[in-house]
């Protein structure tokens, strides 16, 4: 009689980060229910990149998959971090907004349709500058429109993270799921070092980077909702949970009084100590422990 072989969880765990944007989106919808919309074979590419000698991508770095999650209608919008840093241009931005608006239309007509945003992005695509910025303003507007009816779930898994104008998209989402590797912030370390000096932020200090922007810190301070392992199963499970939870009673970005008071209470005479901020702002979960 042979003994069963013990296979440790970390061996069995399938990495989400190793998947490209399309595979990530596909991994989150119920099997057999996903259909890609305006995919690469529709060939709606950036008109602006070839003008600047940059090779375009047939889906412009944004994958939209409509399907079901936990049997509920949903749409997954996934940014490809490996293409132009996941940055938003005219076309990729339009795909996001169009998908969100169609989900809103269905939702307001009685078919609540959740949106899952896989945010692997540095923000505006510089080669499309003002069209990228305008597109991001429109994405933010469309999220705010949809979240009145159905949850908008942002997932920041890494390795690009979610920066620039798209961090506002995470900020207005109903729920934010992050891995430890992931980072979320308006300005990345290099930009802060460039604009405000190395004393303000040493972009080579990796410990500092994750202490400020990393998933554990963001969830620990209540600025994101769930900290998950880099595991397809865990991320899919968190997404399903939030789809089933529906829209929250109050969104984080509506809690103006709470956050205004928190900012007023900060001692700005020196830098903020990240662990201290976790103690001050951190949420307790239902078991009583700090997240």
């Amino acid at each position: 009689m042979s003994e069963s072989t013990f296979v440790p969880a970390f061996v069995r765990r399938r990495s989400f980060i190793e998947l490209d944007g399309r595979a990530r989106a596909q991994s989150l919808v119920d099997e057999g229910t996903g259909k890609e919309l305006v995919g690469p074979f529709d060939r709606i590419e950036s008109p602006w990149l070839p003008m600047q000698g940059v090779a375009p991508q047939a889906d412009d770095g944004c994958v939209v998959i409509k399907g079901r999650i936990a049997a509920n209608p949903a749409v997954v919008i996934s940014l490809e971090g490996a293409f132009q840093g996941g940055s938003i241009g005219e076309v990729s931005g339009a795909k996001m907004t169009a998908a969100l608006d169609l989900a809103t239309r269905d939702s307001s007509a009685g078919i609540p349709t959740a949106a899952v945003l896989l945010l692997e992005t540095g923000g505006v695509r510089l080669q499309e500058a003002n069209l990228g910025l305008a597109a991001i303003a429109e994405v933010i507007a469309s999220i705010l429109s949809l979240r009145r009816y159905a949850p908008v779930i942002a997932v920041v898994a890494g390795t690009v993270g979610c920066f620039g104008g798209m961090s506002l998209a995470a900020g207005v989402s109903s729920y934010v799921v992050m891995t430890r590797e992931a980072r979320l912030g308006l300005n990345g370390p290099e930009v802060i070092e460039q604009e405000s000096g190395i004393e303000e932020f040493d972009a080579s200090d990796r410990a500092l980077i994750w202490a400020v922007h990393g998933g554990e810190q963001r969830v620990g301070t209540g600025l994101a909702d769930a900290l998950v392992e880099d595991s397809i199963d865990e991320i899919a499970s968190a997404v399903r949970r939030y789809v089933l939870a529906g829209k929250p009673a109050l969104h984080r970005s509506e809690q103006v009084r709470l956050y205004r008071e928190r900012i007023a209470a900060l001692d700005t005479s020196k830098q903020i100590d990240p662990p201290t901020l976790r103690e001050q702002w951190g949420l307790r979960d239902s078991q009583g422990g700090a997240r």
Binding site: D20, G21, G39, P40, F41, R43, P50, G53, V54, A55, P56, Q57, A58, E80, A82, F83
Partner: protein
């Protein structure tokens, strides 16, 4: 930025599926492979790296020496090596033969 067009009229076998592989990351490329409408195979390469027409032709001559499908192949390239191009082509061919 260069656009390179190549034709392989001898590749006439009817194919019915399409395949998409790859991401246009730095040093990488994507392939869109579909049934051709012209009877033979046609390749169109959009690349941000100029001056490598011969290298591309070499890769595709080699690919089509074994693959005879009447395919329309679109490539968006940001500097992939010939070796990785061939690998991706073989991946795409595998997808449509399944």
């Amino acid at each position: 930025m260069e656009i390179i067009e190549l034709d392989y009229p001898a590749a006439k076998r009817l194919i019915t599926k399409r395949a998409h592989v790859g991401v246009v990351g730095s040093g990488d490329m994507e392939i869109l492979l579909e049934p051709s409408t012209t009877g033979g195979a046609h390749v169109s390469i959009t690349t941000s790296v100029n001056g490598f027409r011969e290298a591309w032709k070499s890769v595709f001559d080699r690919f089509f020496s074994k693959f005879d499908g009447a395919a329309s192949i679109q490539i968006n390239d940001a500097g992939a090596t010939p070796g990785s191009v061939l690998l991706r082509l073989e991946q795409a061919a595998e997808v449509i033969e399944q």
